[in-house]
Symmetry: C2
Subunit: 235 residues, 2 copies
């Protein structure tokens, strides 16, 4: 049975790494002592070791540990044998490229389909959608494909940001960018604000956290959904 | 002789399309009555016709006209025969994809090398660098390559935005993103603020406009350059 948390961010302004969601993670990872951490997205170019240590420090607060996938000789086997999996944030292109390079796409899909609990934050959440084409990240390298893990039948836009009406900057707003996406694609996009997450349990997809999320469906006006809303019908 | 304007943006807050740079364009396009416009980047999904009309309206203020490349049967011949070329902003991935699809990369490189004046704004400036890997745009479709026109031996980051120290948003700053780019690439990146442009005349590359630009070189601290600075040595 699928059991997935797709979180907008790892960190809320003014608190530590994963702090805002730790209580929920204690419940989510109940009975599991070690989580397989995939540090491929490398925020600010941090090493796999240093990034894993950061995740490990956070998990230690709920008496769990994180082990980096890069410490295994065979990453596919590490995924197959994992009790739980966490993919952290960073650069979505770097993450996607490394997942393809290490042939992990179908291994992850199988493991998650078979019930291995999965936590994603930021880039690790982008990769849960149909494609990475609604990431906010800079395309600093060219991955073999933009197709993602497709744990949910839509796309994710993490760190969703409302338009700043006072800005004099002429770059596109997030909403404009997602509308442009819908000129070439027709799957829905969920804009997850920082502090929000989706909890996927088999066929149920529920918005969690304190904030509303913004849903962009093809050929519809975007709309807000409240925390607690079931998004099972969205596709 | 190469003669190129690489502009951060088409439009400055509070003024009309191309207004801020029209006087310079009158001089740049002196003696040329018709400019070939490449509307492929389609900002907000605008049609090729509507986008061309927008460019045409702006050029009419300096007694010039724009004709869209989509109105020619053979786009390569349109480039070969153009007296001047303008590629406007929008989505860099959409633009890049269409340039590859229509086999225009080498035609543009040849025309510009042979002296056809070229104006780029935003996405049309991104494409002037070595790769599009420092675009701010959303990757709404998958182009066959991230390699760009390489009119200059570095990358462009248009609409460059300084970090907002008051922001509580946890997404990466532009500077962080460009630093991440340098974990995987070693060419310099020029962050062009809105209202700034580069004027390339054969071997001379000069920063124009009122603002400074931010230069990111591999393994160096980023630094500011003043308007009027020659950037010929940067590569």
């Amino acid at each position: 049975m699928k059991n997935i948390i797709i979180a907008s961010t790892s960190t809320i302004h003014g608190s530590g790494y994963l702090d805002y969601i730790l209580n929920d993670l204690a419940e989510f990872f109940k009975g599991i002592d070690e989580i397989l951490f995939i540090p491929y997205a490398r925020p600010s170019g941090i090493s796999h070791d240093a990034y894993t240590e950061k995740a490990n420090m956070a998990f230690s607060k709920i008496n769990k540990s994180a082990r980096g996938i890069h410490t295994y000789e065979n990453p596919t086997e590490a995924v197959n044998n994992a009790k739980a999996i966490f993919i952290g944030g960073g650069n979505t292109f770097v993450l996607t490229n490394q997942l393809y390079k290490n042939n992990l796409i179908s291994a992850l899909q199988t493991a998650i389909k078979n019930g291995t609990p999965y936590l994603g934050t930021s880039a690790g959440s982008n990769i849960c959608g149909l494609t990475i084409e609604t990431t906010n990240d800079m395309p600093i390298l060219y991955p073999p494909s933009f197709k993602a893990l497709a744990f949910v039948p839509f796309n994710i836009n993490p760190h969703y940001l409302d338009p700043d009406k006072n800005s004099k900057h002429m770059g596109e707003t997030r909403e404009t960018r997602i509308k442009e996406f819908h000129n070439f694609n027709n799957q829905p996009v969920i804009g997850l604000r920082e502090g929000s997450w989706l909890h996927v349990k088999e066929d149920s997809i529920v918005l969690k956290g304190e904030l509303t999320a913004r849903v962009f469906e093809y050929n519809k006006l975007p709309y807000e959904v409240l925390s607690g809303t079931e998004l099972n019908q969205l596709k």
